[in-house]
């Protein structure tokens, strides 16, 4: 079923729709767009920041992983030697 609306109110809304001068508004909006910060440039910036953060996280986590590997290797060697002397 179609949404029912009051015909008189529809007419009142249509009649009172006023045209507005475009140019000052367009100029003000264009000034607020910040040239050089368009959607693609923003996307590029976000991607750059993302890349830097990922690299930093990798740089921090990788040595930790290596340290764990070293500890595991040392632990395994110690257990082998201990088992050999038992």
């Amino acid at each position: 079923m179609a949404d029912e609306l009051d015909a008189n109110l529809l007419r009142a809304f249509a009649q009172t729709e006023s045209p507005l001068p475009a140019e000052p508004f367009v100029a003000q909006t264009a000034a607020r767009l910040q040239p050089g910060r368009g959607p693609l440039r923003s996307a590029g910036l976000y991607s750059l920041i993302g890349g830097v953060l990922t690299s930093l996280a990798g740089g921090i986590l990788l040595p930790l992983r290596m340290r764990q590997t070293r500890l595991m290797t040392l632990g395994a060697a110690a257990m082998t030697i201990w088992a050999a002397f038992l």
Binding site: E17, F25, T29, P39, A43
Partner: protein
Amino acid sequence: MTTAPSSAALGQVAEATVVALAMTGDARAFCELVRRRQGPLRNLLRRLSRDPTLADDLAQQAFIKAWRFLPKLRSVGAYGAWLRQLAVNTYLEHLRAVAPAGVELDPDELAGAGDEACRSDERMDLDRALAGLARDERLCIVLAYSEGMSHGEISAATALPLGTVKSHIKRGSERLRAQLDAYQPAREHAHG
């Protein structure tokens, strides 16, 4: 080799093409979209906020969001509805910031804002009558009557339940109609 169309040429191009250009980061194409859509968007926000200065600021905020998120637009044909949704969201965010849910601003104070001398009697009557409606009621009424949105679309745009939207529109229409009927004889009497 292709060259970007001039600003004047952009005015003759179909909107879908201008949207596609703006999505690639063409600021001139986006300004053409602002030029084309500013009227309906500002009128919508003027009806909702009842303050021309605030409405223009909210419209600019909506356009800035559109510029920023344009690459995420799924289809160029959806631009109009998407922009309107951004405007409604911007208005609702503004309301949440200035007045918590349920707190209604003073209609008389808000209705007095702006360049009333430029407005027709009918427009003033309608604006005054709209100011008398509750916030959500006015939102539903404006989206239905001014934007031609269906009840379902309004429900989706405002996150109000469909039943609530229907009752807001039904009751709001009745109240608006009654107020406009009351203004009419008073205005005719005042004009002699």
